[in-house]
Symmetry: C2
Subunit: 100 residues, 2 copies
């Protein structure tokens, strides 16, 4: 758990939004039928929702992944990102421990 990296990753409103949006698949367009049973959301959908360039979102997802806040799985040409719930919980606990 790298608190420094996590706070850094969350020190940006779009990245916080992404983590929040990923709570609910219905924040994004429906998955393609062949992806129906896969977890996570592809980069293109996140990009569309965030309204920033493809490269920026790819970079953001890399930061969130590197911080451990999201998981990624590649399936064919797509990378699917989903929340890492236990890491998010651990982060909250760490903030409480460090601050409270």
């Amino acid at each position: 758990m790298n608190l420094e990296k996590i706070i850094n990753a969350l020190n940006n409103p779009t990245r916080r939004n992404i983590v929040s949006w990923l709570r609910d698949r219905s924040n994004f367009p429906p998955a393609l039928p062949e992806h129906a049973d896969l977890e996570g959301v592809c980069v293109a959908y996140i990009q569309e929702k965030a309204g920033l360039s493809q490269s920026t979102i790819s970079n953001y997802m890399g930061l969130l992944k590197d911080a451990g806040l999201v998981n990624s799985e590649r399936h064919g040409q797509w990378t699917f990102y989903s929340r890492n719930e236990s890491a998010i919980q651990a982060f909250i606990s760490a903030v409480e421990k460090e601050l409270i």
Copy 2:
């Protein structure tokens, strides 16, 4: 409650340390006798503990204050900073609400 400002203020290890150190007065040298009944810690003590320049710490305390995480009270030539517990608690709650 400006989450953006707060996360920004906490996106620095020294500033997080300061908020943490302020939990316990005994992290600093004893107060002068004439300040014995005052809440908070003066800038010089915080500076000494942090090991950064006076201007940097003054700036940091301004950021923490502006974010609402600390209170300040001026008494004579001294400014005493103390934690704003309710703001800290509100921040934790906001992070939970936004992320969890």
